[in-house]
């Protein structure tokens, strides 16, 4: 993402907010709507599957979703492209100031929007105030095998690097922060910087069309930064001033 700081009259902290650290580019021309990212994200981040009834009411929990849009009535339906939607890791996130318990905060070191599960009391104000509607709420204890014995076997494939969440807690995409930390720790042990493309998020890794690219948006030579300079680049709801870190490449 390139931001002309002269245009923004931005200096200091605001410039940092606008710049960001980790970023993502999603090419909507390449996305086929296959939902591999959705599945990979759920596996990586221990996202619970909700039961049939809750899913039917629209409570399926996903940190990334593939939005699809169409025009007209059946059978004269014209599909437009797919739009994967996930937490945009806003530089100025509307969810952050409204939480009365400081459960959703901005990370100084990672420049990410964090959700502190054990601090969340479940007012759901953040989810109301999120213009991208990308937060998911644990309406029940979906991951407690005492309550749902049938998930015991699923619990065997939990990612040990990620916690599980209880009822009444909000959660959302973390940009796979456990992978970021893993790569950083490894690089530090080997006495070097994290290289571009060394690791990526679960959704980007799973995407068969390579529509999702993840990396250091503040390094101009990184792949994600180069893609973000594309003339097709746009940010969702940019007019709200949320400074999103996810860049979409619109269909050409």
């Amino acid at each position: 993402m390139t931001v002309d700081l002269n245009k923004l009259h931005a200096v200091g902290a605001i410039a940092d907010e606008a710049e960001g650290k980790w970023g993502m580019v999603i090419d909507m021309d390449l996305c086929t709507g296959c939902q591999a990212c959705v599945a990979a994200c759920a596996m990586e981040n221990n996202i619970p599957y909700v039961e049939e009834e809750d899913a039917g009411y629209g409570r399926s929990m996903h940190w990334i979703r593939t939005e699809r849009f169409w025009e007209g009535e059946y059978p004269e339906v014209k599909m437009s492209g797919y739009q994967p939607m996930l937490c945009q890791q806003c530089g100025k996130a509307p969810c952050e100031p409204v939480c009365p318990a400081f459960a959703t905060v901005h990370s100084q070191s990672e420049q990410l929007n964090l959700q502190v599960y054990n601090r969340c009391v479940g007012t759901r104000y953040c989810a109301n105030n999120c213009p991208y509607q990308v937060r998911s709420f644990n309406w029940r204890d979906y991951q407690d095998s005492r309550i749902r014995p049938e998930i015991t076997i699923l619990a065997n494939q939990f990612n040990p690097d990620v916690t599980v969440r209880r009822r009444g807690v909000m959660e959302k995409c973390t940009f796979c922060i456990q992978r970021i930390h893993h790569a950083q720790d490894k690089a530090k042990a080997e006495g070097r910087e994290v290289e571009d493309g060394e690791f990526t998020t679960a959704c980007a890794q799973a995407c068969p069309a390579n529509a999702i690219t993840f990396g250091r948006i503040d390094h101009p030579e990184s792949l994600v930064a180069q893609l973000a300079r594309s003339p097709r680049a746009e940010h969702h709801l940019e007019e709200l001033g949320t400074l999103p870190r996810v860049t979409y490449l619109k269909e050409g």
Binding site: F102, C120, T123, N128, N129, S136, W139, L237
Partner: protein, 474 residues
């Protein structure tokens, strides 16, 4: 009925019309109020028992189920993360406002008709706030951690986020609950002392009144202190009331959402609160007058007439703010707001939008302009009920229906209430239950205020003409 032309009949007519001109010996009046507290028919206990059973089931049992199972048993969902819980919170805080408004504003302006019903209105404030508290805590995902929102020193070294309107809300409502309870208690002291002196020794009621009356004996010094305190409180509580409901509106107005981020929400919510609260006061008065002994003496058609006028003015004020909120947003031309306003009127819940306008504007305007109609208690009860239904609809439109429309059309989905319907009706039952219990424990009529008013008013004859005179006591 009295012949208006005959002088003595005119005097009788005036006495019949106005409580202030119809004095009664103090001992007799005290007896009447005590009698109204002590006369309890089996019907009272039947209703009381049924309500208590209902509260135990619908409010406490169902809430327990929800705490154990999670909010999934309710209908709240993306994108309507806030549902009937928040509707009820705003609704109950609204109800509670009229208590203070009637009592404090009318006290400040020395409106004489306020005297017999200030207490009934103030009680509404306290009990309404209790229900508002229930509603907001029910809505939390992890209510057992709600003390984390309190600014108290703790081992977690955490402080609440004072940037969040919810934190302001908590402080505002707590302030309001404490100040309105004190404001209820102050004018109650002389009446508690009156009840103490008329309760036989050895009963638990005697102990109850003795403790609460704080040893009030009715000396000149005590009355002076009471008047000074009441005067300060009556003025001070008015800005508190305005700020509290403005802060409640900021929970919505501060959010980045179409339809919510409106600068007029503060006064719009205040007038809406007064609208529903006045409706509730008139309902309470009609029930008290109809069911409790001796109340027809204290609460007369003149009181309904006076409140009816206020209701009409507030209804007009509400319509003005509603129109302001609507028209500015509509002309703003934002595509999401436009979509939202269309959804309000033409969406699947459009009937509610029209019902709101009928209940809040059309019906009050059609009925309250007529003096005879607005002096009829049962008719005002119905108008008050409809206004409350309309105001509940207004909050329902602002919270879950407006939440349906956001900037991500993929997530649009209609909210379907679940267990929160039980919990909501449970708060209504609990409010009535608390009120019924209070009517047996504390004098609902501020006897000393009525007596003070009656002492100040007198009928004088100038030639053949009977003239009402009022003297300043304070």
């Amino acid at each position: 009925m009295a012949d208006h032309k005959h002088p003595t009949s005119h005097e009788e007519h005036l006495r019949e019309q106005h409580l202030m001109l119809d004095p009664m010996p103090r001992g007799k009046m005290n007896e009447m109020v005590m009698e109204s507290m002590h006369t309890t028919s089996w019907k009272f206990w039947l209703v009381f028992g049924l309500l208590a059973a209902f509260v135990a089931y619908a409010l406490f049992y169902k809430w327990g189920v929800m705490i154990l199972e999670g909010l999934g048993v309710a209908g709240v969902n993306r994108p309507s993360y806030w549902g009937i819980f928040l509707v009820n919170t705003v609704f109950w805080i609204g109800i509670s406002h009229a208590g203070t408004f009637i009592s404090a504003i009318l006290r400040v302006f020395r409106a004489e008709f306020r005297r017999p019903f200030t207490r009934a209105a103030e009680l509404m404030t306290t009990f309404g706030l209790v229900q508002a508290g229930f509603s907001i805590f029910m809505h939390m995902g992890r209510v057992w951690l709600s003390y984390w929102l309190m600014p108290i020193p703790n081992q977690r070294q955490l402080w609440p986020n004072f940037h969040s309107p919810l934190s302001w809300d908590l402080l505002a409502i707590t302030t309001y609950l404490l100040s309105s309870t004190m404001y209820l208690f102050l004018p109650l002291i002389p009446d508690l002392a009156m009840a103490r002196d008329r309760t036989p020794d050895g009963t638990w009621q005697k102990t109850f009144y003795r403790i609460l009356a704080l040893g009030f004996r009715g000396t000149e010094g005590e009355w002076t202190h009471l008047r000074n305190a009441l005067n300060i409180f009556a003025f001070a509580i008015i800005p508190v009331m305005f700020s509290v409901h403005t802060i409640v509106s900021w929970d919505f107005a501060m959010a980045t959402r179409p339809g919510w981020s409106s600068t007029i929400f503060g006064p719009y919510f205040v007038i809406g609160a007064l609208h529903s609260g006045m409706g509730a006061v008139v309902m309470v008065l009609a029930v008290v007058r109809g069911t409790m002994k001796n109340m027809k003496y204290f609460i007369r058609p003149e009181h309904f007439e006076a409140i009816g006028k206020l209701m009409l003015i507030i209804s007009m004020g509400w319509a003005y703010f509603f129109f302001n909120d609507y028209i500015v947003q509509w002309y703003g031309g934002d595509k999401w707001t436009k979509e939202l306003l269309h959804w309000h009127e033409a969406g699947p819940m459009g009937w509610m939008w029209f019902a709101m306008l009928i209940c809040n504007v059309a019906i009050p305007w059609a009925i309250l302009w007529n003096k005879k109609w607005r002096s009829t208690p049962w008719l005002l009860f119905i108008v008050g009920l409809l206004i409350n239904v309309g105001m509940w609809f207004e909050r329902y439109i602002i919270v879950p229906i407006s939440l349906t429309i956001n900037r991500m059309p993929f997530t649009w989905r209609l909210y379907q209430p679940g267990i929160e319907v039980w919990l909501g009706i449970g708060t209504v039952a609990f409010f009535i239950l608390l009120y019924m219990a209070a009517s047996k424990l504390i004098p609902l009529i501020p006897v000393w205020e009525v007596q003070e008013g009656q002492m100040a008013h007198s009928l004088k004859k100038y030639g053949r003409e009977t003239v009402v005179t009022v003297s300043e006591l304070e």
